[in-house]
Symmetry: D3
Subunit: 208 residues, 6 copies
């Protein structure tokens, strides 16, 4: 993407600091950025579609919370999953003790829901947004010796909820580990991934 | 205070719900548990060695934060790892753009360290403890198209730091996802697991 | 994505646990729920008017954060109160020491305001929302040996602020206890209740 | 209430400290307070036994976190209770729907445990301490149309855990309200009080 | 809306409590305040333009979170700066060790961004709002032996982001101190100030 | 322990990674570091006295929370100050309105105390520790048109409380700004600095 490179190199070629590869200045020097109705050119939507550039990076080794002020509010949805692989012992305990199974899954379910609400505190460059729904399901699959965790998050906001859904399943998985670790230290939390997202300029996406 | 003891013992001994698998009473029925020098029998170390019972469960479908008051303070250590699997595109960006790679890995490293300190807020039944060390390493392995994350935590406390190490690598992995998701939505965070722990009554443990 | 739907519907239709009251799957089985424009049928407004069902429950023993995405944004208001009952000693200290009374009530007032902003972190299934106002009043009533606490909260959101108002008075009451406990351990925080709410589909409500 | 107005207007106008520019200075001017081995004279144990003075007050209208540095580490225990009064409708739902009852009580139990760990964030002058145990029990008493909540907390620290136990039952009660409010808005959380404490210089105490 | 203004101005001029120096009651007892469409007269915009009155004060020694419910949603922008003054030793370390300089500035940059998101938890009467952008720049100026920190925040909300920008630079400055304190304890964080703000009824403002 | 010291000094001098500017691995690969009784050589006290190296840096561009596990528990004390410079207008409001002055200073005092308790959440590489005392004083100096803020913190821990004292005065200063900004936007928070510290291996230090 030579054009984009030139675009960003020129203003910076007049920036004395632009020769310091460790400059931590993510800000635009475009005077319009003083104007609340304009936005930092470096954080415009086009950037997020230029696959060669990371939206959370200022292109100079610095981090920033990308400006979503120019994005439309819309309903955003994301679904993520994770799998906790258990030992035979862990499966046995959950399969035979209904009360303890209920306790383990209910505790992990709440931990995931509560973590989703705090995603922006955990992920440094995540925007905080008001979740309109967080739903978590946990299922023990004895044949696969695993617990499958699925989270579905929704919001009406200017940015997506992928990180909220991924954080929910990750923390729910960590909680399953915590609840079972006295009988099984070798559990693995695995395959944390986004299954689908929709809403926003980038539209819908599904993992194939 | 015998009166008070009688007062509380009587209803209990007739409490049918004490056999109800849905009772949410994790409390000891041992009158000595009114005495701060004794502890809830259900949470004694032996419990954690009775592999058929989960220490975070009261055996009746309820959750509790296990009493570690009877455990010795000792140096506790844990090491955990996670792997983030990238697409070719994600690898390409990190491999070719040194500044962005540095930014992604440094941001994830800090996110993991900060998350370790907040583990007890995220994992419902985790004890809070003063971490004496949190060290995270992140390495890109181009040949395997993955980023490997390792966390090592230490404390001097009455309980272990497995959850802190696991939370650190999980949140660091989520942050790598957040930093790269504009170029790669299909990343997977996988194989979050404990490699070793030491310290405490249960001694050392290694994943073989 | 018919394939994906079949993939997920089949195991479900054979899943005995889908009839298990301990199943922790709050998700809709309606394939449309994969569609962000639809919502989990279990969380539609009608649910919240079906008094036989708890909106925070999936009807199968699991918890969820109800989907408010289909609700209208409107101004929501709630007013809650609590009373702290003091001993004669506690009243005497507050009545005679003006500076300490000011300190106790001002500290509790701020604690309540700050707690209202964190309600969604404390109450597992509460939505986070931007409070447009939090006002707390605290008054010592010497004749009744009590401190009365009233909170009024407002927002413009898709869900109400009852929990914010109740959390504010509860934490303010706990703070009064903390400030006075060196002279009075037998205080009771009592009659925490909602006095009125307005806004939203369910309209206005007053405690009679 | 004109009486109350008169009552409260007078003392203020005579409060000398209201003209004291240092009225918010909780610090000792004793030069020894520069010495880490000494402590603010205003915060010594004797203070907490001088029933006429609030340990969290500097005696001049200011607040402070009392210095517990001179107190002994010891096992501290506290037990607190709260009662949630339900309408007939609320009782009916919990009594007839076992799955929902389990969900409501389990969610409130976890909320209370998690809140206990965050007490020092909520109560402005509370010290943070490492809880060695938090146990919550919740019981539905249909005959009394109420849910009784009891929390027992333990630590090994320089200060007590009364506030942790009280915070746990208060937040568990708020969570019961949140879970049931769609069927019962008139619930009251009442009689939040300390039943007993032990450990520390002030020794054991029981509510009679 | 002149009508609404008249409505709310009248009760204020007759409000006896506005002269009560002791009341901790920031609330209006005007029955119309039960109506979500009206607002606490004491918290109307006119107040914030009456320079003799603090909007966060109820005029009677009490604090409150001002009601912004009647303000327009608009794009709000703020820019703040801070300077960390270093010793010769601190400058030398940063100037000579590129890797450590990068680490110090990158860590402080992230700390500032994350702190901006938590401003409403730190500043008691601050409203929480969804930041659409947080950008921090940090620059070492060897000639002045200082690090200059600038933050720019944006939101679309009913209230401004001055406190978010000021909190970001303050916490970034504290982090620079923390990172360098092993070589320089005499650093000073200084000149934390707002450079400009725009958006909202009070319009744009620049520091001259 | 001279042996241990020798043991740890050797591998460092041969560590190839210490020359890799891209390594984000703060950990020693010395197999003995798997042993909880040893510690990461890079984090030993000697490091913190080697003025050429930052203890929070791994010497290779990465951050880490330094291992304090080998330090002695001792009473640690720190005192920090900050100054808020006001305009004539701001001074006038505080000087003439006693109730508002009390409200502003009391709110800032509590905000500073509460922030001190959360320092380790704000400063990425700060250890969390149990504060035994936090005392803040705020004084209006009309002649200098400023508010002076002083914080004194104490703990019994393995690391110092400088950051807690500095965070307390910084957040108190930000709160003064927030409370007065409706009458004075040009305030500056300045001269945030450590006045003294004591306790720990590095002993006492005073700003001269």
């Amino acid at each position: 993407m030579p054009d984009e490179d030139k675009k960003t190199k020129q203003p910076r070629s007049h920036d004395p600091r632009s020769h310091d590869p460790r400059s931590h200045d993510p800000s635009s020097h475009d005077p319009r950025s003083q104007d609340p109705r304009s936005h930092d050119p470096r954080s415009h939507d086009p950037r997020s579609h230029d696959l060669g550039v990371l939206t959370h990076s200022d292109g100079a080794g610095g981090a920033r919370m990308v400006d979503v002020g120019s994005k439309q509010h819309s309903t955003r949805y994301a679904r993520a999953v994770a799998t906790v692989r258990l030992s035979a012992k862990g499966v046995e305990v959950l399969a035979q003790k209904k009360a303890e199974k209920g306790n383990v899954l209910a505790t992990a379910q709440l931990a995931g829901i509560m973590a989703a609400k705090r995603t922006s505190e955990l992920i440094p460059l995540c925007h905080s947004l008001p979740l309109s729904q967080v739903a978590l399901s946990l299922e023990l699959d004895e044949s696969k010796a695993s617990v499958t965790i699925e989270a579905r998050c929704r919001t009406f906001a200017q940015t997506g909820v992928e990180m909220e859904a991924l954080t929910a399943v990750a923390v729910a998985g960590l909680t399953v580990y915590d609840m079972l670790k006295s009988v099984d230290r070798a559990m693995r939390i695995t395959d944390i991934r986004l299954l689908e997202k929709s809403g926003g300029a980038s539209g819908s996406w599904n993992l194939d």
